[in-house]
Each structure stands twice: as C-alpha cells, then as structure tokens.
C-alpha cells in the first residue's frame, strides 16, 4: 500500500484538522518512524503541500495479539 510521507511538523499541523466535512486527518507513524497520511487524505491537501511529500510503501508497526 502506497502512502504519503510527511514531516513531523506537517503531521502536527494536520492532526485533527478537517479535510472534508466530518472527516479528519490522522497522521500516524510507520514501523520506521516515518509520519504518513493516506492517499485518500492527500488528495484534499493543498497542491503546494502535496508536491512536498514522498510516496512510500506503508510498513505498519507490528503488534502481536499477546501484546494486548
């Protein structure tokens, strides 16, 4: 799955911001510590913002069920 890598500062700015009515940005970190948003969210970003991000393969943090 391809996602958009953003900077920590961008993540802080976007978190909790409404990108579409009743839809909110949710930047999360992948297993390598990168902050990412989904492509579904990226399409609602300003074009100048969108041009600054890299598209990367999503690598989720691994949780074992016993962790819970």
């Amino acid at each position: 799955m391809i996602v958009a890598k953003i900077s920590p500062q961008q993540a802080e700015e976007l978190t909790g911001t409404e990108f579409l009515v009743d839809n909110y940005f949710n930047p999360v970190q992948d297993i390598e510590g990168n902050w990412i948003i989904s492509l579904q969210e990226l399409v609602y970003c300003d074009i100048n913002f969108a041009n600054t991000v890299d598209l990367i393969e999503y690598k989720p943090i691994v949780f074992e069920l016993d962790f819970m």
């Binding site: 996602v3 009743d22 949710n26 930047p27 579904q40 999503y58 949780f63 069920l65 016993d66 819970m68």
Partner: protein, 270 residues
C-alpha cells in the same frame, strides 16, 4: 408513534404510524430521502422494539450513506455531539452506499463510548456487520486500558474480549471475515461469541476482569492501544455496528435477523 408530513404524498404523511426514534433519525440523516428506505428503517426500529432489543442499545450505526456527514449518526440518539456517541471519522475512509471502507493504514472512527462510565459490568455487547473477506492483524471494534472490550477477526480467528485478554476471551477459528459478528457477556461467567446470530466457539466462563478499568473510549475500524494511540487498522468494509447491554442467545438471533433483513433490503447483505 405518529406520522406527519406536508406537501405531496410520502411515507411520513401517509397515516402510517412512524416510530418516533426512526423519525428522529430521518430528520438528522438528510441522505434518507426515499420512502422505501424510510419504510425499511422504520420496520427495523419497530422490530428491535418488538424483540425487546432496542432498550439494550447504547449506540447503533448504519454507515452506508456515502458521506461521513450521514454515516456518523447514532440511530439511538441522532444528535451531533460526542455525548450522543455520533462517530468522528479519522483518516482516509471511503464512504459509499455499501458501507465504510477502512484503508488499513490510519482509519478509525471514534465512538466516544467510554465503557467504564457508559456500560454495565458483566452486561455488555459489541457487534459489527463486515462485508469484506480480508485477513490481517486487525481489530474491528474495541478499546483497551487495563482490560479490553473488543470484537474482531485477527488473522484467521474471531475474538471477543470482555474484559481481559486472558480468562475473559472467547474465540473461534473461522477464516471468512464476512458476516455479522457479536461478542456478548450476560454475566460474570457467561461470555459468548456469535457469527450470523449463532454462537461460535465455546462459552467463556473464566474471569471477567472488570469493566471499570476500561476508561478509553471505543474505536470502530481499529483497536485502541492507549489513550492516544489507535492500532491494528482495518481494511474491511462495515455497514452496521452496535454497542450496549449483553444480549441473550435469542437476542443475538433476533438482532441478526433484523440487521440481515435491512442489509438485504439495501442489497448489501453478505
């Protein structure tokens, strides 16, 4: 119950007694415009009340209206506040007339239902209607903090946690993730997992732990690892969910039949 309306003929001014709670939902959800949809949903409300299930519900969601604005409503209390448990959609959900589809990377919906303060110890259920057959390290519906109140298909098994993950877990090895899934605890020693209205797996009779330690609100479409962190994001599509008091075997069968009838009407049954 009453019916009303002005202007041209419609279900609401047809003289048919409309359920008052259904009417409140119609007024909140502006995507419900077809009389046929209103008749089907009204029948759903009336059916749950006839079955004695409606009063056991703290929240029900029918997110198949193709927008967050109309997918967010709690059918039990369709008011646009967190206190009414309307959903807040985070991340890149895809909303369609078939349901809400998670992206598997950052989507979840906040219910604002805090188990320790909203629900009753040893008397709880969580359910969801899943339209996707996708494996993964996924939590479909739940939360944890000290204990866990969750129902989900993780890799190739269903699990229901009420309220700890050791002695309080019910499970069943079923590989198809589609269907109506519910976990219900009706006493300290009776905790069951259901799929399509039928119990699956053994009754859990072990430790119930304690609901009072679960102070983080419930997430839909992901698990909740802590006060600030969602995890195990789902890439599945959902078209119904509920949360409330524990449901008996008969309640589970009746709820499944009511939900399945509604899903079939909308042409999104699995």
């Amino acid at each position: 119950m009453y019916g009303y309306g002005i202007g041209s003929f419609s279900f609401l001014n047809s003289g048919i007694a409309v359920d008052a709670d259904a009417l409140a939902y119609f007024e909140a959800n502006t995507a419900i415009t077809l009389d046929a949809d209103k008749i089907a949903i009204d029948a759903f409300y009336k059916g749950l009340k006839a079955d004695g299930i409606y009063t056991k519900m703290k929240a029900m969601y029918l997110p198949k209206w193709a927008s967050a604005t109309n997918d967010k409503w709690n059918l039990v209390n369709p008011v646009d506040t967190s206190e009414a448990f309307r959903l807040k959609f985070n991340g890149g959900w895809t909303h369609s007339t078939s349901g809400i589809l998670g992206n598997g990377s950052n989507t979840y919906a906040e219910t604002y239902i805090i188990p320790s303060s909203v629900l009753t110890n040893n008397n709880t259920h969580l359910s969801y209607y899943c339209r996707s057959n996708t494996y993964g390290a996924i939590i479909d519906f739940g939360t944890q903090s000290g204990g866990s109140l969750s129902v989900y298909n993780y890799l190739s098994s269903y699990y229901s946690d009420q309220y700890d993950t050791g002695g309080g877990r019910a499970s069943s090895a079923i590989s198809d993730t589609r269907g109506f899934i519910s976990g219900s605890r009706t006493s300290a020693s009776v905790h069951k997992l259901f799929r399509n209205g039928v119990q699956t797996g053994a009754t859990n009779t072990g430790s119930s732990g304690g609901l009072t330690s679960i102070n983080n609100s419930i997430f839909f479409g992901a698990g909740r690892a802590s006060a600030t962190t969602a995890f195990l994001f789902s890439n599945r599509q959902y078209s119904f969910a509920s949360c409330g008091d524990g449901l008996t075997d008969a309640d589970e069968a009746n709820l499944y039949n009511r939900v399945q009838t509604l899903m079939t009407y909308f042409g999104i049954n699995v």
